[in-house]
Symmetry: C2
Subunit: 352 residues, 2 copies
Amino acid sequence: MSRFWSKATLRCEPYVPGEQLNQPGIIKLNTNENPYPPSPAVVRAIEKEAANSLNLYPSPTADQLKKRIADLHGLKKEQVFVGNGSDEVLAFSFMAFFDPDKTIRFPDISYSFYPVYARLFNIPFETVPLQEDFTIPKEAFFQSQGGVIFPNPNAPTSIYLELDFIEEIAAQNPHQVVIIDEAYIDFASESAVRLVQDYENILVIQTMSKSKSLAGLRVGYALGNEDLISGLTRIKDSFNSYTLDRLAIAGAEAAFQATDYYADMTEKVKTTREWTISALNQRGFTVLPSQTNFIFTTHETIPAEELYERLKESGILIRYFNKPRIENYVRITIGTDEEMQQLFHQLDQIIK
Amino acid sequence: MSRFWSKATLRCEPYVPGEQLNQPGIIKLNTNENPYPPSPAVVRAIEKEAANSLNLYPSPTADQLKKRIADLHGLKKEQVFVGNGSDEVLAFSFMAFFDPDKTIRFPDISYSFYPVYARLFNIPFETVPLQEDFTIPKEAFFQSQGGVIFPNPNAPTSIYLELDFIEEIAAQNPHQVVIIDEAYIDFASESAVRLVQDYENILVIQTMSKSKSLAGLRVGYALGNEDLISGLTRIKDSFNSYTLDRLAIAGAEAAFQATDYYADMTEKVKTTREWTISALNQRGFTVLPSQTNFIFTTHETIPAEELYERLKESGILIRYFNKPRIENYVRITIGTDEEMQQLFHQLDQIIK
């Protein structure tokens, strides 16, 4: 506390990201990073850019990158916004579309950054309880006062919501923005991007941190109708002209060209996910149906917190949220096959 | 305009950065970039980091980089905040220390992003007219209601304010934060950082974009007492956990070690600045006393706008602000000796 702090500084309750222990030998299954490196073409593009023009500002509009993303999704460049990770894109979206006099809605179990943004920007919110099976009750999101936001697939539950549900939610909120946070969509079935042309109130947010193996580069983006995108651009241009540095722009452009590389890698993660789920089931775990690069699971006898602590002691980091309804679940990122085998080696010690 | 925009989106008036024409052969003297490349050690550090761990999130605290900056300034790590360019650090500072019910003050001729931030965050402001000679009238900054911000040296005037003036302004605003935006300080005499230990309300903001030749990398930082820094950290951690990517952190760390390289480069820019000023004086220009890597100048007969337009036609970009009091001035970045010779070659055509 300080007498110099603004009301916003006093009011906010900062987000706490997953532990970033950089001890050698640790197995990091706690922040949903991809265990595989980005395409070699990304590294080459960054190296080339580093040797060239770092003394000059980046493009404030990053038009070339926007064009590439637009082409991949059958959209126009004016329907794409890019930012410094999807967290920044989310922050700008809260500023651009939500207001302090209108209550927004999100699930009670969801990305825990949403209430943090809401408090920072003084936006009232109500949380909608997920159903018993942790699925999203769509009707509860109809006729919101100020807007709706949820991840799809949801985090940390890993559960995917079908697009016809999302379509209904958008139709039932015709005057509010409905934000679909698709951080994990490449590990799931279809993206809501195809609804963007029909629903001018749907904003889809994606990231390169997970499926593109670029958590260290900080690139996220939003897709939506031109009015929504120009709203985001107004906020960004009132905040920081150049949110993406030259290296991030160059690396991101290269990643979007390496489609075969990333398709193979995503398949690999999904294959590992499937055998991991079977192996967990065999050991008395219940696993929620995952369409992400992580799984959310609970064991029939060992408490989740104990699992988290004991795995940590043996050098394996997973994520435990000490929160109502999910206090007996852990979130485990899908690593390489080898890392998962080491996980099971340790789990077998703990369970026996 | 869109019915989905928030009040903030409707209210804001985005900043317009200098033109980023990427035509080959153009001479860019319009955005105060450094004409020289960063230290080769910076490029090597980035290349090394790019080949290593881009799939993992960066350090959310960037402690190692903060420690290095702290050591350079004789401060503790807890007195340093780092961000995605000094523009982001400024935006966070407006959020962290200024409030919608208290009027802040900045000069009428100054960095034109300040009113943009103020409008975005709904912070009332009053502008203090610079004196006839474009210097800052210190008494006018005493007893502000909500806080004070100004660049030192000021931009676009290039004029440096002595530290005893700043000390008085800080002493006369004991309950408000006084932000000194030192984007150009390495081309000037002493930084206000040495006041930070004595004045808990002084926040100094610096950037790597100018004197470190890293405009393309987006790294800025703030120096102040621990309470101010923890206020900034609260805001940042409520906005985006990882504002600096791995490459920016690695490059910035390397740059702060290459002290000899950057000392030589800064001397070179200052030497070019001095002969440029003399050469302009000889041609009927009046040049304000510059302690920056740019000069602010007016010609006795040729209108500033005409100078800007005619130089642009010949492939030389300078900056022209069509604003009261400075509508007959242009801002010219100090380029290489060769670039400045080409500038004079063109100026001689225009003036003759």
